[in-house]
Symmetry: C2
Subunit: 758 residues, 2 copies
């Protein structure tokens, strides 16, 4: 297979570097001291029979976190981060994720429960493993790295070569080359990335095979890790021999199932090995990697990139290893695994030679300086073993006292870190907060998510065969198209609601200043709101709270409104407080009061200092990705202070509320206060009726209510509806400044997937 | 009742002038010579048991066209126009609407069929009328004018007065004053607006009571019109006496039902007169008015305005007429009705006095110069009877030879006029054409329409209790909200369609020029389209139909695309012709081919002349309210000609097609060609599947197809989908340049109201 020539002569370098990447990361749930816990897998993660992201490996305590495949490694890392944030924030308060591969604080063997799957076969298989290998060996964790070549690359390369006449055979040969060469040279990755130099003696049941204080490169990849019996031999000379010998081992009873064959490469493409022959290899899984405890989620992006280059290098090599070379690779791996990590490796020359070949390949592929730097950095580690991951780890263990102590310390730090911006999904905080929260809940509950367009907050959700699309966290197939169109148009909204019998403030529309002024007698002596027909941000609105008393004031207000729109509405002013009702289906799920930006005095601090303190709240940010906004002290706020006879340096009395804005928008520093439980039920029913009159399933309804404790009456003095919103900001209710959080995103999921039933 | 003072002192002038106005207009269906036809009421108008707009009065041939009430008289006239256009365009080819009140060409009495209602009582009542009055008298037509005072005015005035303690009593008194004063002074309106000076002698069965050649002001309002027996006396002294005496007449058998009482005012508010006492008068119906044959739809707007002022004047008068005055009014009416229309009226002084009072009132109400001019014009007609409507009519009859001949001539002219812009609903041509067409079909089928927002093309439809909202003619409750959101985003659309297994051209997105150029090797040698991610109007698009051959061309095209958007797509180019499929539910209802602006030579005319001729097509307009657009001869077209070696003065050979544009948009003069019947069924099914994959009910799907006659195959060389549109321009299919019209609006109605079942 002359791949180099093929790529070189046909401009395939770019396609060759493309592919799909997925990560699977195992780890143990532990207490704050690093002891493995014996609690069941948290119920909040739903059912493992389908969960695509949060699974258990061997033991009930052993989480397995799985990213979907992505064309960019960076995206797989974003998923890894998101899944970790979901898990860390969902675990019981006193549980953590252990960041090292070798288990510490192992409970007595009988207390370790095999993972409790619904399917009895899954449980039986684990019981078999417990019996044959002992439970402790199964408690070791690592990272699996899935890699798929670009389909386009494979197809193009196939079309250009002459050796193979069938695409499937060509593709299988590519993956076989990748797998065998990897097995031949994997010791290099072990030397650079291994991170299991030691383990608690308990792990060996009786006597540790290691001398006192002996450190190795990788216990996990050594014969002391989970390895098959030496009798199990699988032949790598061809895919056919591989499949046949694997099947023979199962037939002989040396393996209970094909999946019991532990190899650092698994070829994927079917449930049984034989399907690889029939359907072709789809991708390869590389299982060599120890958890990197310095990476909060077990692996560093740069290391993952390096592994990608290494895999490309294995394809780039002219030769394809056969069974003989694979066996050599295995012996080298074992040898390197048990070397003293503080010493040079015995195979330094081979390692440097291979990395130099990688450099040459990357040059030829025009992969960029960053990739060359990355390989150079690894190359340097052959001369200085202390620079390898092991080197750094050993120093850290010494400092912490034990690897368990180090693991516990890091586990606590990583959990705390996941709570820093507890409302956000950090790796996806380019999306709106409501979508982040929905995404969080979807990962937690195990619904498959595809990000169709992040800029547009567009998700595809899948549960079994049931497909749903969601935009902005709440726009779904459950709303009628006509509903948002009704709500978008204030005039139409009012007509529709009035037709349905709801209390709507009366209004008259005008298309010219003259026309409006000519109708002034209609409004004289009335409390009215004058506003442009279509703007939404409070621009151009004048409120005559008492009554409009002269034609000049009226004309001035109308003129201001006409600056914003070609049509102006004069609307009856409603007396009362504005509340936002969040309606979903036939229920009001949340009621919110929005209070203009303010601080409360303590008799000691100035307004400026009080604002600074209030702004320290982690919920308050500047952009659009935090639930609340920082209070500014700009012109508008200072004018507001001036009207109260204050400046930014005034010291308000204890308990004195100082208002800093006239408008109650959250976007200008306003406070959101949950009032769901305080609101009289009758208004909640009205909000539901209003949503239904517009055919809306998910809807924000703004009601003006003078007294939220008294039952609603059928007239405008009891309540009035002023607006409805088809994109209600769920995050206001989910992360209120005060009062109870209402996890509306869960209700959206329940609406979309009632079959999940939780 | 001191109404003047009340209005004057409380700034109620404006409210006093507000109200609601409705029009009902009867007329006979006739043949081209003015003879009444004996065909049944056209089935296309649906069922008279519910039709709100198109009814029959006494006879099957006697149309009654009804506008809904409107706050502006102008709007009632727009409705009157629209309903007429619907009727005139829906009548059999050889049927017309007779524009005069007195019937001509009466068939033998036995051939006149009473209107065939579902309800047997309705038919029996008409049979009673036939027997008691003779059918011919019932064949007279007129205009009824419904007027409702502003509710706000009534409420405000009630609150300010002291005479009545109950709102209902006050309101009833207002309407009673209006009715009685009208009956007292109605002769004035008759003098000014009467238009029935003569009738064919046949109308009188045996001998005409009129001397040979005798002309009168109004046969219809004279004792020779439809009048009750003199024994029927209804007392107008109070609403109570009115109701009681009316009931007594029915009890005595002088009337078969209350509705048989023929008065020029009917108080409305219930099915029975007694309900007026219980529930209050809601509005009043004035039935005095002869059809104005010079108004295409029976009444002039200015006359309707004058009638409004006259009604206000009847309320403005200090005195309220009682039974005595009503009787005087009736006698004056009869006398004026039989006066020679070419002579001064006997009551000129009273008439002028009343009109002068109207002028004074309008001055005081600040009603504006236009209203004063209008009344002045009528005032002048007391001095010159020839200026009255009758005066003009008599001249026209003389010129035509007979009133039947005049009626036939005008009937033909008005029908032709209604076809001039056959695709538009003239009075509503501020709305989009698709909405106009839908509106047309709704009027025709008898579904109640409310125009919620004309600028926004927003309609409310009602059939029985079933309410639906429609925007842009096709956006309804039947589409899911998520569907248009998917279609709005090209990237999401492609992902969704690809997931569902449809042929989508592959594309790659880039966010920078450098990034795109770095990926050039992926595209070298391929036919590709380079376009901005989100613009829709062809801006920034470059097509490499053969293949992109060098990096410079590619970079240039990418740079052009980046001028329009921050993201650029490089998409595989599909070979074939683009067709637009209109899908509704599980059916493709229309397929359209759009051809770039072009002319076909005749060997005689220049390109310029050919364009002028093609632009003469009434379908071609300049704005957005015509189905096709005029072809321009601007820079772009001249450049296109130049490329073909032509100028605007070239004379193309006979049959030679000269292309004037590269793009096929209808908006730049392109031709729309219906291909529904030519398209292979398999593609229609694919379009339906595409719409369904996006959850869309109504959807435009653009497919590229190399050969529309061959069945679809599952690969891109057979077909590919390039876009879907949630607001597909229905009018392209309804009014194509070539091929069959597809009345899609009817399908929309059927979707919304399946219960109508036609």
């Amino acid at each position: 297979m002359k791949l180099q020539k093929l790529i070189r002569e046909n401009h395939l370098a770019l396609l060759f570097q493309q592919g799909n990447f997925g990560l699977e990361k195992e780890s143990q749930r532990v207490d704050r001291n690093g002891n493995i816990v014996t609690t069941p897998h948290p119920a909040v993660f739903g059912n493992r029979s389908y969960h695509p992201y949060i699974q258990t490996d061997f033991a009930e305590s052993q989480l397995e976190l799985i990213t979907p495949p992505n064309a960019k490694l960076e995206d797989s890392f974003r998923w890894l981060s998101a899944i970790h944030e979901v898990v860390l924030r969902s675990l019981p308060e006193e549980e953590y994720i252990f960041p090292l591969s070798m288990p510490a604080g192992l409970p007595p063997e009988e207390q370790i429960q095999e993972a409790q799957f619904d399917n009895p076969e899954d449980v039986q298989y684990r019981q078999h493993l417990s019996k044959n290998y002992g439970k402790y060996k199964q408690m070791v964790s690592g990272v699996h790295y899935n890699f798929q070549l670009s389909t386009e690359f494979v197809e193009k390369a196939f079309a250009l070569q002459t050796e193979y006449s069938e695409l499937k055979a060509f593709q299988n040969a590519l993956y076989m080359k990748l797998a065998n060469n990897f097995l031949r040279y994997q010791w290099i990755l072990l030397y650079l990335l291994a991170a299991t130099p030691t383990v608690e003696s308990q792990y060996f049941y009786e006597k540790s095979p290691l001398a006192g204080g002996q450190l190795v490169r990788s216990l996990r990849s050594s014969p002391y890790g989970y390895v098959n019996s030496e009798k199990v031999v699988v032949n790598h000379d061809s895919l056919e021999s591989y499949v046949e010998s694997l099947e023979a081992n199962v037939a002989n009873g040396l393996l209970i199932a094909e999946k019991e064959f532990y190899s650092n490469v698994r070829l994927r493409g079917g449930k049984k090995a034989r399907e690889l022959l029939e359907q072709g290899v789809k991708y390869a899984e590389f299982r060599l990697f120890d958890l990197n405890p310095f990476a909060p989620y077990g692996i560093e992006l740069n290391d993952a990139k390096f592994i990608h280059y290494f895999l490309l290098g294995m394809l780039w090599l002219e030769e394809t290893s056969g069974q003989k070379e694979v066996e050599i690779g295995k012996q080298k791996l074992y040898q390197v695994a048990l070397e003293d990590p503080r010493t040079e490796t015995a195979f330094r020359a081979e390692g440097e030679a291979i990395l130099n070949q990688l450099l040459a390949m990357l040059e030829e592929l025009a992969a960029g300086q960053e990739s060359l730097d990355l390989v150079q950095e690894k190359l340097a580690q052959f001369a200085d073993p202390n620079k390898t991951l092991n080197g750094r780890l050993i120093a850290a263990i010494e400092e912490a006292g034990s690897y368990k102590a180090l693991g516990a310390k890091l586990a606590q730090a990583y959990k705390a870190q996941a709570f820093e911006r507890f409302y956000a999904l950090s790796a996806f905080d380019n999306m709106e907060l409501s979508t982040q929260t929905l995404f969080f809940d979807l990962i937690q509950q195990g619904i498959e998510v595809e990000l169709l367009d992040e800029n547009d907050q567009f998700l595809a959700l899948k549960f079994g065969d049931h497909l749903e699309y969601v935009k902005n966290g709440n726009m779904t197939s459950h709303d009628q198209y006509i509903s948002p169109l009704i709500m978008e148009n204030k005039v139409v909204t009012k007509k529709v609601l009035a037709k349905a019998g709801f209390n709507v403030p009366k209004s008259v529309e005008f298309t010219s200043l003259e026309q409006a002024v000519a109708h002034y007698p209609l409004f004289e002596g009335k409390a009215v709101v004058i506003k442009p027909k279509s703007t939404n941000y409070g621009l151009g609105i004048t409120i005559f709270q008492q009554a409009v008393k002269n034609r000049e004031d009226f004309a001035k207000a109308v003129e201001i409104a006409f600056r914003e729109d070609k049509e102006v509405m004069v609307e009856d002013y409603l007396v009362g407080t504005e509340y936002r009702f969040f309606v979903l289906g036939d229920e009001t799920l949340a009621v919110l009061l929005r209070v203009p930006a303010n601080v409360v005095g303590d008799g000691i601090h100035s307004v400026k200092e009080l604002v600074e303190r209030k702004n320290d709240d982690p919920l308050r940010g500047d952009g659009s990705r935090s639930p609340l906004k920082k209070i500014a002290l700009g012109e508008i706020e200072q004018l507001q202070l001036k009207e109260q006879g204050l400046t930014v340096d005034s010291v308000p009395a204890k308990g004195q509320t100082v208002q800093l804005r006239a408008n109650s928008n959250i976007s200008t520093g306003g406070d959101s206060i949950d009032m769901t439980d305080q609101m009289h039920e009758s208004y909640k029913q009205i909000a539901v009726g209003i949503a239904q009159a517009m055919g809306a399933k998910v809807c924000g309804v703004d009601l003006i209510i003078p007294d939220l404790t008294k039952p609603a009456k059928p007239n405008l003095s009891s309540w009035g509806v002023i607006e409805a919103n088809f994109n209600p900001m769920m995050m206001m209710h989910i992360f209120p400044y005060q009062g109870k959080s209402r996890r509306l995103t869960k209700a959206v999921i329940k609406m979309l997937f009632p079959e999940i039933g939780n």
